[in-house]
């Protein structure tokens, strides 16, 4: 089990480049796959797919609503479309298209949300996505997947393409820390993964913060606090059984996500606990507000997702167990 996570993390690697590479690789696996972008293909890195498969790539201009609807038309014609634009634009500007045609109409479109969380840090709050997971998780029939590192992006993109319905796939803009061993990491949509075991509490996390959670857990272990770390890469369908098991076995949970503490991973876990096995839960994330412009790491720290925020949330959760 310990072998899923690298002993020493890898060198930071561009998440969007990893995504672009994965897209190209999938283009070969899935001959009916098409890729669309809305004049941001150099941001979302779908241009890498365009370079190899120009005839399967479509740039619809600055028209996110058309982006989704064109993809819907293609999906209903036997194509496997991956639509690309900023996460916040899927979650807001094109949300009616996503709801009516992907969620209700069950068009098998994959929505790749670039620049998720605070990762479009210098462009500021309008371009960041503090609420996308809550929004998209509330729609019936839509899966929500958040990969965390380059290996995870590649493997989960494949699973996302194989999944029989629409999926929101949330990505990061920046360099991220390679956390997983290529050979041992084998994610399934809808199944959380225990990355580290522990008995005192459980950290349930997703996305680029997984690395910070592992570091936090390792640090707590030095202080004699043994924390289980679960990567919940699928927010929907969320892994209820694993969540309940962690509640039962460790007695307190902490969720960690690059998102408001309302309605996202923290919300999903709070709902499962309340319904099945109430225990103390601390939710680490953005405190229901907009962030600002600045370097990515500085924003993560300032807006409540520092390593210290994680460790002290664990300590608070432990305190509440008593």
């Amino acid at each position: 089990m310990g072998t899923i996570v690298r002993e020493t993390f890898g060198e930071p690697f561009s998440a969007r480049k990893a995504y672009g590479q994965a897209l190209v690789e999938m283009g070969e696996h899935f001959p009916n796959m098409v890729v669309l972008s809305a004049d941001v293909s150099n941001s979302d890195h779908s241009f890498m797919f365009e370079a190899v498969y120009p005839e399967r790539f479509f740039n619809v201009g600055i028209a996110e609503q058309a982006l989704v609807d064109v993809a819907v038309g293609m999906a209903h014609s036997g194509k496997l479309p991956v639509a690309n634009t900023f996460a916040f634009l899927f979650a807001t500007r094109a949300l009616e298209q996503v709801r009516t045609h992907c969620a209700y109409g069950e068009a098998n479109v994959k929505l790749a949300g670039a620049y998720g969380g605070l990762s479009d840090s210098f462009d500021g709050p309008t371009h960041q996505s503090e609420s996308d997971l809550a929004i998209l998780r509330s729609l019936p029939n839509l899966a929500v997947v958040v990969p965390s590192d380059p290996v995870s992006i590649r493997k989960l993109l494949k699973k996302t393409l194989e999944w029989p319905g629409p999926v929101y796939f949330r990505l990061c803009r920046n360099e991220v820390i390679p956390v997983f061993h290529e050979n041992n990491y084998d994610p399934e949509i809808g199944k959380g993964i225990v990355l580290m075991d522990g008995k005192d509490a459980t950290i349930v996390c997703c996305g680029v913060l997984v690395a910070r959670c592992i570091e936090a857990a390792r640090q707590l272990a030095r202080d004699g606090i043994f924390v289980r770390v679960v990567e919940m890469h699928t927010l929907k369908p969320v892994d209820e059984e694993l969540t309940v098991r962690c509640a039962r076995e460790t007695g307190a949970l902490v969720t960690v996500e690059e998102h408001t503490v309302i309605g996202g991973l923290g919300g999903a876990v709070a709902e499962v606990l309340a319904a099945r096995h109430p225990v103390p839960l601390e939710r680490v994330g953005v405190a229901d507000r907009f962030a600002e412009t600045g370097p990515y790491d500085a924003l993560l720290d300032r807006y409540g997702m520092s390593r210290a925020d994680i460790t002290s949330a664990v300590r608070r959760a432990l305190e509440r167990k008593k």
Binding site: Q65, A66, D69, V70, G73, H76, K79, G105
Partner: protein, 300 residues
């Protein structure tokens, strides 16, 4: 609650695409359009819910499409080579359902379940429930971009089938329509044809009052579409326009179908009250009589 389902519609023959537009054919289709209006009136009267005005105005266009112009196989609603119909003004589906039923997609007996619990005939079309519905509709503004996606997929696959999108004129207020129009023109999607039910009335009043649409042909031309301008209640014009659109190359075509909301019932025509209101028993009887006269004028 539900009146018994007394089916009075005599459907027209099916005149395959390419059939010469003989006077007999035009009369048969025109008569059927009026009879479909009667069916719609009954369906909406039945549960006192549904959209009459925009269903009546699109009768000739849908009749022409289903009984002549569209290449379809009711036995195989998912036949890959079928022409696609995107009924973007989904609120008017009370007219879509009879056309599909009498074309053989489902039993006409089901028509009177329109909007009832457990019916496959949902208030707005649902693709999972009813065979042949390509996409759900209801929220306005989707048809052009979805049609563009379908037309593009067809071209990629080297298929020659065509994609028809039926829009309301009020629907053109909606931004996503113009996004789709740009995309379709960029990709020169000549397998795509939009038909605007240009009936001059939207939900809360005339388009002049609520949101002026003129100069309508200039708008579409400025968005690089080929424009045909016709009277949508004249079956011969509808049939000719659909043929003409087949001959356009290198750009999508829009057919502006000038007509009348509530067409066929004098007290409903042009009045936005009848966008979504059901008739009283007296109104029902009066409307029925007028529609019957309309149908009779095409009997021969």
């Amino acid at each position: 609650m539900a009146t018994t389902s007394n089916i009075t519609v005599r459907p027209p023959r099916v005149y395959p695409r390419g059939t010469c537009h003989s006077p007999e054919m035009i009369a048969d289709l025109s008569r059927a359009a009026w009879e479909f209006r009667i069916q719609v009136l009954r369906m909406i009267y039945n549960y006192k819910t549904g959209h009459l005005g925009g269903a009546f105005s699109i009768a000739e266009v849908l009749t022409a499409l289903f009984f002549h112009h569209l290449r379809l196989d009711p036995e195989r609603p998912d036949w890959p080579e079928r022409d696609r119909l995107i009924f973007s003004k989904g609120h008017a589906c009370a007219m879509l359902y009879p056309c599909r039923a009498y074309r053989g997609f489902f039993p006409p007996e089901e028509l009177m379940t329109f909007r009832a619990l457990d019916s496959r005939l949902q208030g707005h079309p649902e693709r999972q429930k009813l065979p042949g519905i390509e996409v759900p509709a209801g929220p306005l503004g989707h048809g052009v971009a979805i049609g563009a996606g379908m037309a593009h997929a067809a071209r990629m696959d080297g298929r020659r089938h065509r994609v028809y999108v039926v829009l309301g004129d009020g629907e053109l207020n909606s931004g996503p329509i113009w996004e789709g129009a740009l995309v379709a023109a960029k990709y020169q999607l000549d397998q795509l044809v939009a038909i605007v039910d240009y009936n001059g009335v939207q939900q809360t009043g005339t388009t002049t009052h609520v949101m002026p649409t003129e100069p309508i042909t200039d708008k579409w031309r400025a968005f690089n579409w080929h424009v045909l301008d016709i009277h949508e209640h004249n079956m011969a014009e509808v049939l000719d326009a659909l043929d003409q659109a087949d001959e356009v190359h290198g750009r999508p075509t829009v057919i502006i179908g000038r007509g009348t909301k509530g067409k066929g019932v004098s007290f409903m025509e042009g009045d936005s009250y009848w966008h979504g209101a059901p008739p009283t028993p007296e109104q029902f009887a009066a409307a029925l009589q007028e529609l019957r006269k309309g149908a009779e004028q095409w009997e021969r």
